[in-house]
């Protein structure tokens, strides 16, 4: 591998053209055009590009991707989907396409759900994200939804986005876009679940955009349960205004290869963000978290805890950047990444980066890679719990610890159920 980028194979040209031929608002056409040009010009990054040092997506360039066909699969959908709750405000995507018939959120008078085609302007006003994952989303995006939470509304019901992969065709490319705009002092809980129902491979490139206006409070969780043949390259951007508070928790337990680039931009003073993550990676899976927190103004606070387990031949990457701008006095930043390494062949790469251009800041970070604590193990065994069960409990607890920070009971119950799948109950 000598080059920094590899050119996209010929099949991409036809795919981009097909996506572009569908009806779309002008702003999306423009964004797509820019993304396609960029992808054509550069191709996809190899591991020689620093941001992709540990995650090699260059084989995608030669992959014969297809657009998922038809909508017939939708009859097999909810409510037999995990974490489906009738009383949530559900917003369902199937193979990257919005499925209004499953989305009771459209009937809600409490929020406003606008389909991408009906949006006159792009809610993402920031300069376009030039990361390959975001470019792929823009190039392949065929549908999307904006959910607006009106000012001062305290939403009782959780908003739950399902990004379902149902296509039985191998190598389908799915590029849903979802945006949440919480207006002044709005409060809401939001879950995003990316899930394969199909056993076929796919490339999932979801784009999530969240904006929290002044005083808004959001609890957001994202879960990734793609099948072990699929790749997911997700991007999320959170923008926060004065005194807003966002708590984000992500859980990654699936996909052959998953990469998530999560940016939280604290635009105005007093904003607080908490980013937590947990991952359980086994077999040959590869997961890569890139977080980017930007302190633009004074007295903002950020807190990150990512914990995970890596077993068998799996690999996990954590790269967390905290960027403090010159004007951001009184910044309080904390970052911790801890990984439990369960096998000799498993790999972990942890890289904190603090980029600080201000003297009046309190920033700390830590990273540990280790094994189950012998002290904890003995404590459990001394209470009659056999070693195998104790190890099982402690490895689950290692990530469960992140959930203890989750105040929302339903989110926590869902994630607990997710961990139940990762740690099947057995006593010996």
């Amino acid at each position: 591998m000598k080059t920094r980028f590899v050119p996209l194979g010929d099949p991409y040209t036809a795919l981009f053209a097909a996506c572009n031929a569908e009806s779309q608002p002008d702003w999306l056409a423009a964004r797509r055009k820019g993304a396609v040009e960029r992808l054509r010009r550069d191709g996809l990054p190899t591991r020689l590009v620093e941001a992709w040092k540990y995650t090699d997506i260059s084989p995608l360039a030669e992959r014969a991707l297809v657009l998922p066909a038809g909508t017939s699969v939708r009859s097999a959908m909810p409510p037999n989907v995990p974490f489906w709750h009738e009383d949530d405000l559900n917003v369902v995507f199937v193979d990257g396409q919005f499925a209004p018939e499953w989305s009771n959120a459209v009937q809600s008078s409490e929020i406003q759900v606008v389909r991408l085609n009906n949006l006159a302007t792009n809610p993402e006003t920031a300069p376009s994200d030039m990361l390959a994952s975001a470019l792929l989303n823009a190039a392949f995006r065929r549908d999307g939804v904006l959910v607006r939470i009106p000012a001062h509304r305290q939403l009782e019901r959780r908003i739950h986005f399902f990004l379902l992969h149902a296509s039985e065709t191998a190598d389908a490319v799915l590029a849903p876009w979802l945006a949440v705009a919480a207006e002044d002092a709005a409060e809401a809980r939001i879950a995003v679940t990316a899930l394969s129902i199909s056993k076929a491979s796919c490339l999932h490139v979801p784009r999530v955009f969240v904006s929290a206006a002044a005083g808004a409070q959001l609890v957001v969780s994202q879960s990734q349960l793609m099948n072990d043949r699929s790749w997911q390259l997700g991007t999320t951007r959170i923008e926060q205004h004065r005194d807003s508070r966002v708590t984000h928790l992500e859980a990654a337990v699936g996909a052959a290869l998953a990469r998530h680039d999560l940016a939280a931009v604290l635009l105005e003073s007093g904003a607080e963000v908490e980013l937590n993550g947990l991952y359980v990676q086994r077999e040959h899976r590869h997961v890569d978290f890139h977080t980017w927190i930007e302190h633009r103004q004074m007295n903002c606070r950020s807190h990150q805890v990512y914990k995970g387990i890596v077993d068998d031949h799996a690999a996990a990457v954590f790269n967390g950047v905290v960027r403090v701008h010159p004007g951001a006095s009184g910044t309080d930043g904390y970052q911790l990444n801890r990984t439990l390494l369960m096998s000799r062949e498993a790999q972990v790469f942890s890289k904190p980066e603090l980029l600080i251009d201000n003297d009046d800041v309190k920033c700390s970070h830590g990273a540990t890679i280790g094994q189950i604590s012998a002290q904890e193990l003995f404590y459990l065994q001394s209470r009659g719990i056999p070693e195998a069960q104790a190890r099982h409990m402690l490895s689950r607890a290692f990530v469960e610890d992140v959930l203890f920070r989750q105040k929302d009971i339903r989110q926590r119950a869902d994630l607990d159920a997710l961990l139940d799948r990762c740690f099947p109950v057995g006593h010996d």
């Binding site: 604590s373 012998a374 002290q375 904890e376 003995f378 404590y379 459990l380 065994q381 001394s382 209470r383 009659g384 719990i385 056999p386 070693e387 069960q389 104790a390 409990m393 402690l394 689950r396 607890a397 290692f398 990530v399 469960e400 610890d401 959930l403 203890f404 006593h427």
Partner: protein
């Protein structure tokens, strides 16, 4: 119920700590082992529980199971717990991510499985816990918190006694449970231990001070120095130590 015979032990790959300990504990008895820091008291407690950091270099520990005496040294730590042995830790361990309830539930049911008794479901078990936690004067909210995490020193020690109350051991070894306790906590812990003691079980108190013994009167007191039990007596021996310290008990080299 317990016979320690000429027990010698050392830290793995390290120095010898115990040099021939003999001790017999019968059902219904309360024993106290006292001694200065570094005398080997806590080492003995940990070896009884099967701590992996030590090697037994001589002697034996026999434990009565039904009509048989079995060597604890052949048993894993969890098997010793199944047979009714309990160690209250000198430094209880934080277990982030495991709630007190989940921990004790797993523990309780592991012991029941061993005894071929039906497991108790979580709903019934919660009721049991709420009943038991009153004994040590802690709020039920502690049951849902991660084991010992962010507990104060006194709360951790009380939590050990909660575990003892729930697991109802035959032989409870309390390793410096009294250290780091304020006066109120000490009283609560001591009262709870007394409450849990019956003529069928036994307690081995390991302590540096006589404080705990103001509340609990041991049947036998043993003084440990330099890895040996140098003197045994009744509760008066503990009071002598309180008055005179340990130096007068030193064995001339």
């Amino acid at each position: 119920m317990l016979r320690i015979q000429s027990l010698s032990a050392r830290i793995k790959e390290g120095p010898a700590i115990l040099h021939g300990i003999d001790l017999e504990i019968k059902p219904g008895e309360i024993h106290a082992i006292m001694g200065p820091n570094g005398s080997g008291k806590s080492t003995l407690a940990r070896i009884l529980a099967g701590h992996p950091d030590y090697d037994v270099t001589g002697g034996n520990i026999l434990y009565k199971v039904g009509d048989d005496w079995r060597s604890l040294l052949k048993l894993e730590s969890h098997e010793r717990a199944w047979l009714g042995l309990f160690l209250a830790f000198q430094y209880p361990v934080d277990v982030p991510g495991v709630s007190n309830t989940a921990f004790l539930h797993a523990s309780y049911n592991a012991i029941r499985r061993f005894r071929k008794e039906p497991e108790m479901d979580i709903v019934e078990f919660r009721d049991l816990l709420i009943e038991k936690i009153a004994l040590i004067g802690m709020e039920p909210a502690y049951l849902e918190r991660a084991v010992n995490l962010d507990f104060s020193g006194g709360e951790k020690k009380r939590n050990e006694i909660l575990q003892m109350a729930v697991l109802a051991p035959q032989l409870a070894v309390l390793d410096e449970t009294d250290s780091g306790l304020d006066v109120d906590s000490l009283r609560i812990v001591a009262e709870a231990v007394k409450e849990l003691h019956t003529r069928h079980n036994a307690v081995l108190l390991i302590t540096h001070y006589q404080r705990m013994l103001n509340y609990i009167t041991p049947d036998h007191v043993h003084i440990m120095m330099d890895g040996r039990l140098v003197r045994s007596g009744d509760a008066d021996l503990a009071r002598s130590v309180e008055d005179r310290g340990y130096d007068w008990l030193k064995v001339p080299a």
